[in-house]
Amino acid sequence: MESTILRTENFNAYFGTSHVLKDVNIAIERNNIIAIMGPSGCGKSTFIRSINRMHELTENATTKGNIFLDGNNIYEMNPTFLRRKIGMVFQTPNPFNTMSIYQNVIAGYTLNGYKLSKADKDVTVEESLVKAALWNEVKDNLHKKGTFLSGGQQQRLCIARSLAMKPEILLLDEPTSALDPISTSKIEELLLSLKDSYTIIIVTHNMQQAGRISDFTAFFYLGELTEWNETKIIFTNPKNIQTQNYITGRFG
C-alpha cells in the first residue's frame, strides 16, 4: 500500500470573495496523527472540511486545486461516498437526539439504506463502541437515548459512529474544546490507540494536546500553510517566525 494517503495540490478555498486557503500543498502519511494548528480564522476548519467536501455545502463556498485520496481526485468522486470513507467528528458532540445509542452507532448504515442483519449490526455496534472506549460504560444502556450521556461520552459516541463506517481517515475539528480535562485525556488516549488502523487529522487550539498526541503538525497562518513538519521539530525548532511567535504564546 502506498504510504501517502492524502495529498493536496495547490488547494485554494473561498467563501464568496474571501480567500480562506491559499495554495496549500501537503502530503499526509498513513497511520499518523496530524495536528492542524494556527490562530482563529486561519483556515484550519475550512481545510479539514474540504477534505471530506463539507466545505462546499456552505453557500457561496468554492474551491480550486485538487485533493487526492489514495491517488484518486476527491473532486471527481461522489461526495456522499467520499464522506463514508472519511469520518468526521465535530467541535460540539452531535449525536442524533431522536435515536438510541445503538441506533446512533449504526446510523451511517441505516440512514444510507444499507440492509444489515441483526447479528452484523450487533457486531458493528460492539466493535465500534469498544474501539471508541465507550463499550464498558454503555453496554447496559444501549437502547437508551444518546443524549443522556455526559459530554465526553457523547463525543466518544460520535467517534464510534464515525468508526462504524470503517473510514480510512478520521477528521476531528477541535473535538475536545467543549470537554473537561478528564474527558479530554480519555479522548486523547483513544486517538493514540486508533492510530494503528486509521489516519487521524485533528484541528486543535491546545498546544499541549498537539504535542502529546500528534506525529506531524501543520501550522496555518492567514490561509497559508506556513510550516509543516514533525511535531517534535515544530515545537523545538520552528523555522517560521509566525510559528515561533504562536508557539511561544506571543499571539493567537
Binding site: S18, T46, T80, R83, F90, T98, A107, L111, N112, M165
Partner: protein, 303 residues
C-alpha cells in the same frame, strides 16, 4: 432627596395585581362561552342525538350524525391535502432562511455577496409573503375562490371542494410551525448526518423531520382545530346535506353548517339542536387542543 426604593414592594404588588386582573378579564369571555354552551347543549345530548339524522320541521327529535360524519370526511380530506403541501413548504423555508447555521460567522460577509443572496432568494421572500397574506385572507374569500375554481366548473357542490377550501385555511399554520420547529433543529445534527455520507434528501427526511416531529404534529393539530369550526368557506362549497352522504363528490353536511342552518331557523327545537351541535364542536376543538399539548410534551426532543 427622595429614596427611589421607597414603596418598591407596594408598587411591585400593585403591578402584579393589575397583570393578574387583566389576564382574568381577558379569559372571562372564553369561560362564559364554554359555560353557556355547556349549559345549553348538554341537555340535548343523548344517544339519539348522536346517532340519527335531522328530522323535517314539526317532527320531534332528530340528530346530527350526518354532520359528524360529514365534518370528519371534510377535515380528514383537508388534512391529507394540506399536510404534504404545508410540510414541504415548511422544509423549504427552514432550509433557506438566511440566518441559519454558522455561515455569517464563517464567511466574511461583504455587501456584494449580501446582494447576491438577496437576489437569489426572491422565491423564498415571495413565498413567505404569500403565506403571511394567506393567513390573513378572510375565510369567506377563500370560499368564494374555491366556488369559482371547483364548484362552478363541475356544476355541483361537493365535499372535496369544501376540503380544498379548509386545506387552504390550514396551510399557514402547518407551514409556520414546520418552519419554526425545523429551524430549531441544530445545524450540527444536520452536519453529523451529511458527514456520514447521508445524501441531503435523506438527511432531511430521516434526521431533520423526526427531530422536529412534535412541532409539526402540533401545527397540524392546531390547523385542524382552527378549521373545524369554519363555516364561511363551506357555505358555497360543501353546501350541506340533510341526508347521509359518504361521497366526496356530492354535497355533504358538516357541524358548522348545521349549526348555522338551525340557528337562523325560526323554530325553538331547532335552536336547541344548534346548541347541541355547538357543544359537540367546541368539545372536539377543546380535546384537539389538549391533545396538542400532550403531543408536544411526549414527543419533544431534547437538545
Amino acid at each position: 432627596m427622595k429614596d427611589p426604593l421607597r414603596f418598591r414592594e407596594t408598587r411591585n404588588t400593585a403591578f402584579r395585581i393589575i397583570v393578574i386582573f387583566f389576564t382574568l378579564v381577558s379569559i372571562i369571555p372564553l369561560i362564559a362561552v364554554l359555560v353557556y354552551i355547556f349549559r345549553q347543549g348538554i341537555s340535548v345530548i343523548n344517544w339519539h342525538f348522536l346517532t340519527s339524522l335531522p328530522k323535517p320541521v314539526g317532527e320531534i327529535g332528530g340528530g346530527i350524525l350526518n354532520a359528524i360524519i360529514g365534518s370528519t370526511i371534510i377535515i380528514v380530506l383537508a388534512t391529507l391535502i394540506a399536510v404534504p403541501l404545508g410540510v414541504t413548504a415548511g422544509i423549504y423555508f427552514s432550509e433557506n432562511s438566511r440566518n441559519k447555521g454558522n455561515r455569517s460567522a464563517r464567511s466574511g460577509v461583504n455587501i456584494v455577496s449580501y446582494f447576491r443572496e438577496l437576489r437569489k432568494s426572491w422565491v423564498y421572500r415571495a413565498a413567505h409573503l404569500g403565506v403571511d397574506v394567506l393567513q390573513g385572507v378572510p375565510s369567506i374569500v377563500i370560499g368564494i375562490l374555491i366556488y369559482l375554481w371547483l364548484v362552478k366548473p363541475f356544476g355541483r357542490f361537493s365535499a372535496l371542494s369544501g376540503s380544498v377550501a379548509l386545506a387552504f385555511m390550514m396551510l399557514p399554520s402547518i407551514i409556520k410551525s414546520t418552519e419554526e420547529t425545523l429551524k430549531l433543529v441544530p445545524h450540527a445534527v444536520k452536519e453529523a448526518a451529511l458527514a456520514l455520507g447521508v445524501p441531503y434528501y435523506k438527511t432531511i427526511l430521516r434526521v431533520i423531520i423526526p427531530a422536529g416531529m412534535s412541532g409539526i404534529l402540533n401545527g397540524i393539530l392546531l390547523g385542524i382545530a382552527r378549521v373545524s369550526g369554519e363555516t364561511a368557506p363551506l357555505l358555497f362549497t360543501a353546501f350541506g346535506n340533510p341526508f347521509f352522504s359518504f361521497s366526496i363528490f356530492k354535497p355533504i353536511a358538516s357541524l358548522p353548517l348545521i349549526i348555522f342552518n338551525y340557528a337562523i331557523s325560526p323554530y325553538e327545537d331547532w335552536h336547541k339542536l344548534a346548541w347541541g351541535a355547538s357543544f359537540i364542536l367546541v368539545s372536539t376543538v377543546l380535546i384537539l387542543n389538549i391533545l396538542t399539548k400532550l403531543v408536544l410534551k411526549k414527543w419533544k426532543v431534547q437538545y
